[in-house]
């Protein structure tokens, strides 16, 4: 546990719902200074004026220094990138100067975020997180679901394992349980397969997760999508830490996430660009690289892209 008591400065890049869960909780720790970079000016002003507030699964008020100006960021030991996947590259480029001596982790959805971060930063941490929330108002986030996070070094540009452990340890002590593992691809692919097999179906049908899963024909399509994802993971010698099917069935329970509208459905209802390129698109891309056919993921990808295109018709 190198430097457990030493002063640590962490910057959350993209302080939306998930970023706020990390920022507000980490700000509870002694010896940890938390910064947040976010483009939403109102949110930044509210955080600086009143702190960053979480309600729901935990009631937390975090004293976080927020800014929309990358130049205002000091040198940080860790970055936690939590933007939507399509903004990773721009966010990493804008803030990279704050991490020349530090390590940067992704806690985003989809595949390819670490690759994008590594274009701008030397030491990168692969991450996957399950907690979820939503913005209630500037400076105030609803914490819907608690959950675990897994960190591991990003293989092409790895952060040292002891740094990965230091970040995981800080998150755990802050109430965001995190594990440091040598290979974080298994948990990441399990979540990506889960999201890619369920989110677009919710987005295309407008059904909640539970209602997608209780229709046998749609549930069969979910399994078809999962099987393609598993084959792509297997071709890369990635060992999933658990069967995504189990996660899907668990989430469909009435007492878990039956009524949950997938984030992609929320995006579609608000006519915002979705993360489909990094979910189904990521599975298709890695499938092509490893010679694994993914016709269902490609079809679902095309349908969601078509849906996005229809907003400008």
């Amino acid at each position: 546990m190198v430097g457990r008591d030493a002063f640590v400065r962490i910057c959350v890049v993209g302080c939306g719902a998930v970023g706020s869960l990390f920022a507000a909780n980490l700000a509870q720790l002694d010896g940890v200074e938390v910064w947040a970079h976010d483009l939403a000016r109102e949110h930044v002003d509210a955080i600086n004026a009143h702190g960053l507030r979480l309600s729901g699964a935990g009631d937390v008020l975090g004293m976080v220094r927020a800014t929309s100006e990358p130049d205002e960021l000091p040198q940080c030991d860790f970055g936690i990138v939590a933007t939507k996947a399509m903004h990773t590259s721009a966010a990493a480029e804008a803030t990279a100067h704050a991490f020349t001596g530090g390590c940067v982790a992704s806690v985003q959805n989809g595949i390819g975020n670490e690759e994008a971060i590594a274009q701008h930063v030397e030491r990168v941490i692969r991450g996957t997180t399950f907690p979820a929330g939503r913005m209630l108002a500037p400076g105030h986030v609803q914490w819907d679901v608690k959950g675990d996070t897994t960190f591991g070094p990003f293989e092409p540009k790895p952060a040292p394992q002891e740094e990965v452990e230091r970040l995981a340890d800080a998150c755990t002590r802050a109430g965001m349980p995190a594990a440091a593992v040598p290979d974080a691809r298994g948990p990441q692919w399990r979540k990506v397969i889960f999201n890619a097999a369920t989110n677009p179906l919710g987005a295309l049908t407008r059904l909640t997760h539970g209602r997608v899963c209780e229709r046998p024909d749609l549930r069969a399509l979910v399994t078809g999508l999962v099987d393609e994802g598993k084959a792509v993971a297997a071709a890369q010698h990635i060992e999933l830490d658990d069967d995504p099917e189990r996660l899907i069935d668990h989430a469909a329970r009435k007492d878990v996430a039956y009524d949950h509208k997938a984030s992609m459905l929320q995006d579609v209802e608000a006519r915002r660009p979705t993360e489909v390129d990094y979910l189904n698109g990521g599975i298709v891309r890695f499938g092509r690289e490893h010679g694994v056919p993914t016709p269902l993921n490609q079809s679902v990808w095309a349908l969601v892209r078509g849906l996005e295109a229809s907003w400008t018709r």
């Binding site: 749609l218 399509l221 698109g281 079809s299 679902v300 990808w301 349908l303």
Partner: protein
Amino acid sequence: MIERVCVVGAGVIGSLFAGHLGRIAEVSVLCRRDEHARALNEHGLRVSGKAEFVSAVSAATSAAELEAPQLVVVATKAGGLEDAAASLRDHWPDAAVMTVLNGLGAEEVVRRHGEWPLISAVTFISGTKHADTHVEYILDTETWLGPYAGAPLELAEGVGELIARSGLKVEVLPDLRPAQWSKLIFNATVNGVAALTGLPHDFHFAQEGEPADLGRLVHGLIDEGKAVARVVGVELHDDPWEMNVLATGRGSAHFPSMLEDVEAGRPTEAALINGALVREARNHGVETPLHAAIYALVRGRESAYS
């Protein structure tokens, strides 16, 4: 010579047929709502767009109130077919019945209610209904028809000649199945994708450059459909992919009925179109994973109507 025609179902297609045929024959309309029948009796049927005229028609909500026709044109939506066919039971034994519906199997539904000689038809015309008595004629494309289950070809030719004289484009085929299957594959693909994406049938459907381009999915769906037709033993009248490319190159994008249904929160014809294709495939031991996916998604979308 056919002089009296009854059109059953006065949606867009039924209204376009009734209006055109009303110019050269005595046309009655069998509809579901009393006020619809009253309005037609009072004002006639106005056609605008590709053609401009008003036809006098007589209308009623039961067959018993109408004079016996020589030809019945059934142009309901799939969901209304069973009731419409049942309402013809025991009426007009000397008439021929022509079905103009999407999908497969309409003839068999009608057959269960009477022994009329049957004519199969598929149509590519389309338009928009502005009122019970006003339909806009937008796409003046062809209608294909042919005898069904042993009906004489001359009967179909007589009907084709009547329709051509009314101003609609028509082609008579000795066996309609090749045309029906071309349209089935085309509709199952285009209507399903349009309903799910919210896109009208525009250039996206023919775009195949990038992996996520919609044309790749469209092409995949059409290839699955062609494989089913091959196994069923039908040689297609037109290549559905060429139909797709031609239609998307036309300039003005068409809004398929399934897209309009979904946007209005109405039941779609997916069971008769996408469902028919998936069922035929299964009956012949052919896998159609992409069509099964589209069908499941459209049905899921319908189940989400509040």
